[in-house]
């Protein structure tokens, strides 16, 4: 492995204003049994053309974070504090009607399972046309033409015929292309993709990741990609946030994270992945993710952590920069990597 950063990484212009900026977000769920925090102290910024990956295991709050970015939190969940800015617009201050104007236009979402996210009783062309007409005020005819164009943009084979088909008539890969076309049809500044390739076979995943990277390059879109898969992160991220039990535990540029992970959880995750070319016993992380309604005192990872001390189970470690641009929330960060 060479020590220099290879040219495959996207160069992000740090002087450009973020397309999406989140500050001190806290999301709570009110359930009958009581309310609890699912995401806390979440801050992030994504610039045009940049890909930020949020990675973590089930229940870490990554999907809740994604949904909150489009004000799509389910009933019972709400943003308790913090701000979400898309460009100059404060998303949380908008009326629902104004939020609908922004959603799909300046910020759009790609869901994990296109079969449930797409409308089963509308053709894919009609769904895309509806979005274009809603946001661009086009005629039905022009909307349809734009829909076919959007499907061509995602390299849908036989775009004109496919536009007239229903989601169930398409293969998994084509459905995900249709959803990407729907997300991109109004050329949004920000795309939030929640596990966009998790339901797909590996060869189709490669196609979809390649497609997303190409489209991002063409359009200069800022992408927030939510995933549980560190290999996908290695493939497309510029920056990475690792989440555990509703909080950021580590944040870094892609090469820094993979070269020298600081947080014991990140290190554990990397050792736990069986990967092509890897050998030896997997380091498993003992125990399981704690339920969010019953988090331990102090650092939520402490009960599973090999480095845990008395301080860890008493005080929550703050997220601090240990190297330029490389943040970790751990009392016992060791710098040898």
């Amino acid at each position: 492995m060479s020590q220099t950063v290879s040219g495959t990484m996207t160069d992000t212009a740090p002087e450009r204003a973020p397309a999406l900026e989140v500050r001190d977000l806290r999301i709570r769920i009110d359930a009958e049994a009581g309310s609890f925090t699912v995401v806390d102290d979440m801050s992030l910024a994504v610039r045009p053309g940049e890909t930020l990956c949020i990675v973590g295991e089930s229940g870490c709050g990554k999907s809740m974070t994604a949904l909150s970015l489009l004000r799509l939190l389910p009933d019972g969940a709400h943003v308790e504090r913090g701000s979400i800015r898309v460009g100059e617009t404060d998303l949380l201050a908008l009326s629902e009607r104004r939020a609908e104007d922004i959603r799909g236009d300046r910020i759009a979402m790609i869901f994990q399972e296109p079969l449930t996210a797409l409308n089963p009783v509308m053709t894919v062309g009609a769904q895309i046309a509806e979005a274009v007409c809603r946001h661009r005020g086009l005629s039905r005819k022009a909307g349809w033409a734009a829909a076919v164009q959007a499907l061509r943009g995602v390299q849908m084979p036989d775009a004109e015929q496919r536009a007239q088909q229903y989601p169930h008539e398409l293969s998994g890969g084509m459905r995900q292309r249709a959803m990407i076309a729907l997300a991109l049809c109004c050329d949004p500044a920000v795309i939030v993709a929640d596990e966009p390739t998790t339901a797909l076979d590996v060869t189709v995943q490669a196609q979809i990741l390649g497609l997303m990277a190409n489209l991002q390059r063409e359009h200069g879109t800022a992408v927030v990609l939510i995933t549980h898969d560190l290999a996908v992160v290695a493939e497309i991220a510029d920056r990475v946030i690792v989440m555990y039990a509703g909080r950021r535990v580590e944040e870094a540029a892609i090469t820094d994270l993979f070269d020298a992970p600081l947080h014991p959880y990140t290190r554990g995750l990397m050792g736990a992945i069986p990967h092509v070319g890897g050998v030896g016993r997997l380091t498993d992380i003992p125990g399981t993710v704690p339920p969010l309604w019953n988090l331990p005192e102090g650092c939520a990872f402490a009960p599973r952590c090999p480095l845990a001390t008395a301080q860890c189970s008493a005080e929550t470690p703050p997220l601090r920069a240990h190297r330029p641009g490389h943040l970790a929330a751990c009392w016992n960060v060791t710098h040898d990597a």
Binding site: G173, D201, V202, A206, G210, A231, A272, D284, I285
Partner: protein, 328 residues
């Protein structure tokens, strides 16, 4: 695990020309209008204490192969041999004997355990059914097995919903091991689990194999997992094995163009080794209309005339592998 093995080095399980075809029926009279060749002539051997990985994309027939071997779907054709002796009809007494030697662990640890049974009853049922051990000894056998798979004895009266996903998969593995089978079919046993828990289960399977000498048919779509756990790997595409070899041979030197495609599509864990994904549009053909000749030819960069005419047989190459390709 059976003492009467004449040839200790021979395969414990041999599968020959296994076929599972499903009829497609349509209309009022349910006339058969076609056939899905889910598994179409699959042969392989599994040795003692050996793990054979069966890998491929959704719809390739890998799970159906596992289900047919576990006796959960009827095979259309083919034979299955334990220690070289053909297994007779999978009915009645024969089936009971067969199941004792061949068990299965399912992908979804939530739906594959009876929610109304306590763990100790789930684990005891196989002993009762097959009359293994004296009834008074069975509770202890259950507790021993729980300890072996990393469950606490005081959890034996709990119900499945009281366990996490990883622990439930441990219950599923314990249930499969109760009869001391020769072979366990593991059908995507870690796909529903988080990576940190997945690693626990993979390590457990490796430990159990070293301790008990059990063999695994490990079915997975995840090449990383397959490489980690398998001694031998078979790659399936649309009902057929297209390449089979030792793990190192498959991963260091893939020969079939489909194996190459799978490996090149798998992301590496190294951000400096990003591949330029070729954005092609090719989709796996439907299992109801598999292309004539070689099924992979519609996606294959090497496809030539002969590929459309003749299905390539699985033939040995340089003594290390079997490959079904005209052009390799």
């Amino acid at each position: 695990m059976t003492p009467d093995t004449s040839d200790i080095n021979g395969p414990v399980l041999s599968v020959r020309d296994l076929k599972v075809h499903f009829p497609i029926r349509k209309g009022v009279f349910q006339r058969q209008v076609g056939t899905v060749r889910a598994v179409d002539g699959v042969s392989f051997d599994i040795g003692r204490s050996e793990t054979v990985g069966l890998v491929g994309e959704s719809g390739c027939g890998k799970s159906t192969t596992g289900l047919a071997l576990a006796g959960l779907v009827a095979a259309t054709e083919g034979k299955v041999m334990f220690d070289g002796a053909r297994v007779g009809s999978k009915t009645g007494r024969d089936l009971a004997t067969y199941r004792q030697r061949m068990q299965i662990v399912f992908q979804d640890p939530f739906s594959s355990l009876n929610p109304r049974q306590r763990v100790r009853d789930i684990l005891r049922a196989p002993l009762d059914i097959h009359g293994i051990g004296a009834p008074a000894e069975r509770p202890q056998m259950v507790l021993d097995m729980m300890a072996r798979v990393g469950l606490r004895p005081d959890q034996s009266a709990s119900f499945p919903h009281q366990f996490s996903g990883g622990q439930r998969q441990r219950i599923g593995i314990a249930r499969a091991l109760m009869l001391k089978p020769d072979v366990i079919v593991c059908d995507e046993p870690v796909s529903a689990l988080d990576v940190s828990v997945q690693a626990q289960i993979l390590n457990l399977l490796n430990d159990l194999q070293a301790e008990l000498g059990v063999s695994f048919l490990f079915i997975s779509h995840d090449l990383g997992v397959v490489e980690h756990i398998s001694h031998k790997v078979a790659v399936m595409y649309l009902g057929k094995i297209v390449e089979m070899a030792d793990r190192q041979a498959i991963f260091a030197n893939p020969t079939h163009p489909y194996t190459e495609l799978l490996l090149s599509s798998t992301p590496s864990l190294d951000p400096r080794k990003r591949r330029n994904f070729t954005v092609s549009n090719d989709d796996v053909p439907s299992a109801t209309s598999i292309p004539a000749g070689c099924a992979f030819r519609t996606r294959c960069p090497l496809a030539s005339d002969i590929c459309a005419r003749e299905a390539p047989p699985l033939t040995p190459r340089d003594g290390t592998r079997l490959v079904a390709c005209h052009n390799r």
